[in-house]
């Protein structure tokens, strides 16, 4: 018997100023059986919801009015007043060049998905977030999900120290 995901037990918050884009994500989640899907266009509204309701997964665009998606992520992960520093965040954005991916990763994004996207890619990110929760790393310069995805064998006392020297 294969594992299944009951999306009706997952609450989502979609942060995207583009109505069509937000609608596509909403329709996809609804089809999957999600019953708690909130849509907002601005990070300020997202914070308001995060303070009052349970949100399991955030799907956000990078390009937003006012505070952009990256500042939103930064506040979410690093602000002392953040309502939920550990919430998984999927960044769904047309800013897909490598430097954007790296920047988002270093600010604590959980998954990155480039627009234009297809349903399969969105589904795989959702599955990953739910079925493979990651360690969180807290250092003086980073707070967020473990950025190492590959399991690289290491034989030694201090891999991070080695990373730094190399």
């Amino acid at each position: 018997m294969s594992a299944k995901i009951d999306f009706s037990k997952v609450s989502f918050l979609v942060v995207d100023g583009d109505k069509i884009s937000a609608q596509v994500v909403f329709d996809t989640l609804s089809y999957l059986g999600a019953v708690s899907v909130r849509r907002v266009g601005k990070p300020e509204e997202a914070f308001r919801i995060l303070r009052t309701q349970q949100v399991d997964i955030i799907i956000t665009e990078w390009r937003l009015r006012g505070m952009d998606g990256l500042e939103f992520l930064d506040s979410l992960r690093n602000s002392t007043s953040s309502p939920n520093r550990f919430v998984p965040v999927i960044m769904l954005t047309a800013h897909s060049e490598q430097q954007y991916v790296t920047t988002a990763r270093d600010l604590g994004i959980t998954e990155f998905l480039a627009k234009p996207f297809n349903a399969k890619a969105l589904y795989s990110r959702l599955v990953s977030v739910i079925t493979r929760p990651r360690h969180f790393i807290n250092t003086s310069t980073y707070f967020g999900p473990d950025r190492r995805r590959r399991q690289v064998p290491f034989d030694g006392p201090d891999r991070r120290g080695t990373d730094k020297r190399n």
């Binding site: 018997m1 294969s2 594992a3 299944k4 995901i5 009951d6 999306f7 009706s8 037990k9 997952v10 583009d18 109505k19 069509i20 884009s21 609608q23 596509v24 329709d27 996809t28 089809y31 999957l32 059986g33 399991d56 997964i57 390009r63 550990f86 998984p88 954005t93 047309a94 627009k115 234009p116 996207f117 297809n118 349903a119 399969k120 589904y123 599955v127 977030v129 739910i130 079925t131 929760p133 990651r134 360690h135 969180f136 790393i137 807290n138 250092t139 003086s140 310069t141 473990d146 201090d158 991070r160 120290g161 730094k164």
Partner: protein, 170 residues
């Protein structure tokens, strides 16, 4: 000798409540969707195609008029540039999702051209207008896929034109 201490790293175990709540063996969608299920899911996305076409069509008309007005009136230029940059981004973002990858290519060219600009000169507005017209033709003629060699050549030509008139940036 002062040895610099390495920063302390705190590793916090993953939170598993969400997984425990949502993953089961009886109800919901398979972790690995069957091809037919994926096809169904794709159809859900495509249902928004008409809304996309209507929305982009409306924005194109509005942006085109703003650009035409701005060509003759320098005071309107920053508003026109802002609106066109928004249009370029949303078209680039969703064109490919709805099987308009050519539209995404042209929108990307326009987005790069307008990136970081607060205003544009007359020639730059005309380059913007050509991009908008090209996107409009793709939309009106329902050119899905990557188009013919002529359409591809037009896209390349637009990108070259944009590169030629990219300066000055202000």
């Amino acid at each position: 000798m002062n040895e610099q201490k390495l920063p302390k790293v705190q590793i916090i175990p993953p939170r598993t409540e969400l997984k425990q709540r949502a993953v089961n063996f009886t109800k919901g969608f398979d972790v690995d969707l069957a091809p037919e299920q994926l096809e169904e899911l794709e159809k859900v996305v495509q249902r928004s195609s008409d809304s996309f076409v209507r929305s982009i069509g409306h924005d194109l008309t509005e942006s085109r008029q703003l650009v035409i007005d701005a060509i003759g009136n320098a005071d309107l230029r920053s508003a026109a540039v802002e609106k066109c940059a928004d249009l370029a981004y949303s078209t680039k973002a969703l064109g490919g999702t709805f099987d308009y990858p050519l539209m995404t290519q042209i929108a990307k060219s326009l987005e790069i051209f307008l990136a970081g600009r607060t205003t544009a000169n007359r020639r730059q507005l005309m380059v913007t207008q050509l991009h908008i017209d090209a996107i409009y033709v793709i939309l009106a003629s329902r050119v899905t896929g990557f188009g013919t060699s002529i359409e591809q050549a037009t896209t390349v030509a637009l990108a070259k034109l944009a590169a030629r008139y990219a300066e000055p940036r202000e």
